[in-house]
């Protein structure tokens, strides 16, 4: 391998100034088409891939890209339909604004997280559903760049915030089962914190959750029971440990073994609900005849699953689109803002009256 090719390397090769070469990339109207073509041809021959974004950022104060922090493994971003939909919305807004998009996974330790988020040149950050104690979030907040948080955590007026009314959505889900006549309900949660814990939930465990959505949705489920004159403490609460069908399948078999009289299962997400349906079948139960299952999100697979899932729809693509727009506005100097997007209960075939 030879020395690293820079703007100066190309300038020396052509016998022009470094500024002239730089203009070929950053101010193409500042030089003639023939000269620009010669510069780009030499750059291509030498293997030069373009000006360094971070260095350009130092000069212009503008990086031309936004960062998107996920708490999950990056592979999950492309597996989970809900996350993919969010990414689609972000990409829509980014393309319209001519802005690049950089995906940032969240390393588990503060040092790694700090390195991960500070080593990239971006104008601001989108944070998609990370735990309140996530070290990457701490590093991002410390950077002081424009910030939009989606779903969680809620930093109040310190950052723009895009979310849904999780409590109302969960309440609507539970009200649906109660209206069908179910009285023995259980909740199957996905991720409630960074520890990925699973199993039955008691008060001490619940108090340790760092995922706001888990707390909000559980409160909503309990609201419905209270409004129906039932004891909210009778609600069976179980963690799958992740928003993952495999983990949910295993957790469902354990939940139903511990509480065999449950007839209605309220799931944290459609992915959890899909695993729950599989787990119910493993225990010999039919959905919805023996166990009604309600999801959350309305991912595309919810409508095609067997049986099609009753769920709470959230506008995930719009959520991504709006979050990116708010971030771009914040980069232009807009003050932090909050948006609560509407939800919609969708009734399909995974729920029925108890037999």
């Amino acid at each position: 391998m030879g020395d690293r090719v820079t703007l100066q390397t190309i300038a020396d090769e052509l016998g022009v100034s470094r500024t002239t070469v730089s203009n070929a990339y950053n101010r193409p109207d500042a030089l003639g088409a023939e000269l620009r073509a010669r510069i780009l041809a030499v750059a291509d021959r030498l293997g030069y891939r373009g000006p360094d974004a971070a260095a350009r950022g130092l000069r212009t104060g503008h990086r031309g890209a936004i960062g998107l922090l996920f708490t999950e493994d990056l592979r999950f971003v492309f597996e989970d339909a809900d996350t993919t939909g969010f990414l689609q919305g972000v990409a829509d807004a980014s393309v319209q604004a001519g802005t690049g998009l950089m995906l940032l996974p969240s390393p588990p330790d503060l040092e790694g997280a700090s390195t991960a988020v500070t080593s990239v040149a971006v104008d601001g950050h989108l944070v998609f559903s990370v735990a309140a104690d996530d070290p990457a979030l701490e590093a991002i907040v410390a950077m002081g760049l424009p910030l939009v948080i989606v779903d969680e955590p809620d930093l109040g007026a310190r950052a723009s915030f895009v979310h849904i009314d999780d409590r109302a959505g969960a309440k609507a889900a539970a009200e649906h089962l109660l209206a069908l006549g179910h009285r023995r309900l259980a909740v199957l949660l996905g991720r409630t914190g960074r520890d990925g814990g699973s199993g039955p939930v008691d008060a001490a465990r619940e108090a340790a959750w760092t995922i706001r959505i888990a707390t909000e949705r559980l409160a909503g489920y309990r609201d419905a029971l209270t409004a129906a004159g039932l004891d909210p403490d009778e609600l069976v609460v179980w963690e799958a440990g992740a928003n993952d069908p495999d983990r949910a399948r295993q957790a469902t078999t354990e939940l139903l073994a511990a509480s065999p009289d449950v007839t209605g299962l309220l799931c944290f997400s459609d992915r959890v609900a899909i695993g729950a349906c599989q787990g119910a079948r493993l225990t010999g139960r039919r959905v919805p005849e023996d166990l009604s299952v309600v999801g959350f999100d309305d991912i595309p697979r919810a409508a095609t699953w067997d049986p099609p899932l009753t769920t709470i729809r959230q506008p995930i693509v719009d959520k991504g689109r709006l979050a990116a727009r708010l971030l771009l506005a914040a980069i232009d100097g807009a003050a932090p803002s909050r948006v609560q997007l509407p939800i919609e209960p969708i009734v399909r075939s995974s729920t029925a009256p108890p037999t």
Binding site: R286, P308, R325, A335, P336, R338, V347
Partner: protein, 120 residues
């Protein structure tokens, strides 16, 4: 197991789009200039709706197109106002266009409210 058609439930209280903007002025200052700020937002949205007073705010009445029935309310604490705009949401509103109209309306009202409050 056969699939049955999808049916959406009737509207719930959660079926609203709620946008909040923060303004570095006291709620009293922002509330005093709210009518002018909302008028600026309606002009920008090119709708001819009127307004009627509600507690700590205004409700859009008349022909407000995608913003019909919206409520603009001022809250917050001394030195930091929360301008909340609640837009009714219906099944046919699933497209993103209404979201963008509402977001722009909120932004315009907030910016106008800030300017009006600062000038008072």
């Amino acid at each position: 197991m056969s699939a049955t058609p999808t049916t959406a439930s009737t509207a719930t209280p959660a079926r609203r789009l709620v946008l909040t903007r923060y303004i570095d002025r006291s709620p009293a200052e922002v509330e005093a200039g709210l009518t002018a700020a909302v008028s600026a937002g309606l002009d920008d949205a090119r709708v001819t709706a009127g307004t009627e007073p509600i507690h700590r705010g205004l409700r859009l009445v008349g022909d407000a197109d995608q913003l019909a029935g919206s409520e603009v309310v001022v809250g917050g604490i001394d030195g930091l106002s929360e301008l909340t705009i609640a837009v009714p949401w219906h099944n046919e509103d699933a497209a993103g266009a209404k979201l963008l109209v509402a977001d722009r309306f909120a932004q315009t009202v907030a910016e106008s409210a800030r300017v009006v409050a600062a000038a008072a």
